[in-house]
């Protein structure tokens, strides 16, 4: 494998993959570890990647699989200690009002995204933050492009509900 070529792949995509993992995982340490793992796996398999492959989508797919595995083992760990992570619940729990008031809307959205079910969070982040198409998102999540789109839309609905619940959305002007 050409070392120089892989260097170019790293230079082009490491920042983006790291940001993606930080957003979906949360902790910077875990995101650091998983972004390393993403590129180590990519390095091992790079020689067998077809020449016309979409390297960016492929890297997102590796990172997404690692993120899913990470959460699976997190859940196992939590269960072992008899805990249920609030972040994995299906419903969006608004943060306490006092906390909300002191935070920016962006941070609130961030919080809502972190509490989304995993597939919605991954699909939303890939689509709305990194601009991947639904085909690529579907491949990384192991579902169809339509399902990937449904996950993104569901996430947007929940974000809207979450912001609305705190009165942070503009009201329609009176005519």
């Amino acid at each position: 494998m050409s070392q120089r070529t892989f260097e170019a792949v790293m230079s082009a995509h490491h920042g983006e993959i790291y940001r993606y993992l930080r957003r979906v995982i949360g902790g910077s340490g875990d995101a650091d570890d998983l972004s390393q793992e993403t590129f180590l796996r990519a390095y091992r398999a790079y020689g067998s990647l077809p020449i016309d492959a979409n390297v960016r989508a492929w890297l997102f797919s590796i990172a997404t699989n690692l993120a899913k595995n990470h959460f699976r083992s997190e859940i196992r760990r939590s269960r072992a200690y008899g805990e249920v992570r609030a972040s994995m619940r299906e419903t969006v729990d608004p943060a306490p009002l006092a906390e909300v008031v002191s935070r920016e809307t962006g941070a609130l959205v961030d919080g809502i995204v972190r509490r989304l079910p995993l597939k919605q969070r991954l699909a939303f982040t890939q689509r709305k933050i990194h601009g991947l198409d639904y085909e690529a998102i579907g491949r990384s999540l192991g579902c169809s492009a339509e399902s990937a789109r449904a996950h993104v839309f569901q996430a947007l609905r929940k974000i809207r509900q979450g912001l609305d619940g705190h009165g942070l959305l503009p009201k329609e002007p009176q005519r």
Binding site: H14, L40, Y43, R160
Partner: protein, 322 residues
């Protein structure tokens, strides 16, 4: 349960898609018509716009200072470690049986005759600590073709970059480096290599180093033989392969009393340190002390190694008749 009118529920997905700029034109027109008559959907549409603009700010959110550079640094370190341990391998059929070839980032690191099967399970790589293996998808094809050309006599040199890290010790590496310099069509006793590496009495240790040669054929340990001219061992008990490789180079071999050996009287001789090759009957040897001799299968091979004919015995005028 939602108390939205049915028409609003039906258009919900299109409304969201339109707000996000992803709707097809016909859906966007349908939404536009609906919004003109429905206040609550208009509000919802604006809210999605707001959500979209908030999400845009997230996209541009800066990372904590230095975190990306630090993550990149960690990645570079782990990748450097992986590169140093990663071997790309493939198992090929050959006239000498199945052969595994492996390469690292530095060069070819293993050429292995597989005795007990045609899979990685039969390879010594399974027992190499710290090595990570990836099956080749084409990188080794050119190397394999070179090897096939060598084995059918169309090629005399395998000019591959080599990685000797699979050698078992520094001494083994030194022995392998000395052996790598042996010319095509020549043989030398173990004692000759021992002398070459500055340990004249270490013939047995040299034989052990060559027994574990990770790069047979390309590091031509088949050109190293016993002082008596017997082929002795090769990669364990594969002395038949040694004979085949030597025959390919034109080295004459015979079996005497059940032992395979070279035919010394049919080969030209080089005394250590000399630059002239001789006939085996050269009178100048009478005055030289005994020493491990290099023998050449032909004058062409000796001259290809940069040697000239002896001016005393004149092998150029009286070549050995085969």
């Amino acid at each position: 349960m939602s108390n939205k009118p049915a028409v609003c529920v039906q258009i919900e997905d299109d409304l969201l898609a339109t707000a996000m700029g992803e709707a097809v034109p016909s859906a966007a027109r349908r939404v536009e018509r609906h919004l003109a008559t429905c206040g609550s959907c208009r509000r919802e549409f604006q809210e999605y716009h707001t959500v979209d603009s908030v999400v845009t700010t997230l996209r541009e959110e800066p990372l904590p200072s230095g975190s990306l550079a630090q993550a990149r640094e960690h990645l570079e370190a782990r990748l450097a470690d992986l590169r140093s341990r990663l071997l790309v391998y493939r198992i090929f059929p050959s006239p000498l049986g199945h052969i595994l070839i492996a390469r690292s980032e530095l060069g070819i690191s293993l050429v292995e005759y597989l005795e007990r099967g045609t899979s990685l399970r039969a390879s010594r790589l399974r027992h190499e600590p710290g090595v990570e293996l990836v099956e080749d998808r084409g990188e080794l094809e050119a190397v394999y073709q070179d090897l096939l050309e060598y084995l059918d006599g169309r090629r005399k040199r395998l000019e591959w970059p080599l990685d000797l890290r699979l050698a078992r010790s520094d001494f083994h590496r030194t022995v392998l480096q000395a052996t790598a310099a042996l010319p095509y069509g020549a043989v030398i006793p173990y004692a000759g290599i021992a002398q070459e590496v500055g340990k004249a009495s270490a013939s047995r240790a040299v034989a052990q180093a060559l027994r574990w040669n990770p790069l047979p054929i390309v590091i031509p340990c088949h050109r190293v033989i016993g002082t008596s001219g017997a082929l002795t061992g090769y990669a364990g008990r594969k002395v038949g392969l040694k004979q085949r490789l030597l025959s390919l180079e034109g080295v004459p071999t015979t079996k005497r009393a059940g032992v395979l050996g070279i035919t010394p009287q049919a080969m030209y001789i080089l005394y250590p340190g000399e630059r002239e090759y001789c006939l085996p009957t050269c009178p100048s040897f009478d005055t030289h002390p005994p020493a491990p001799l290099t023998r050449f299968a032909s004058r062409e091979h000796a001259e290809a190694a940069g040697l000239s004919p002896c001016t005393t015995c004149r092998p150029d005028l009286h070549p050995i008749s085969h």
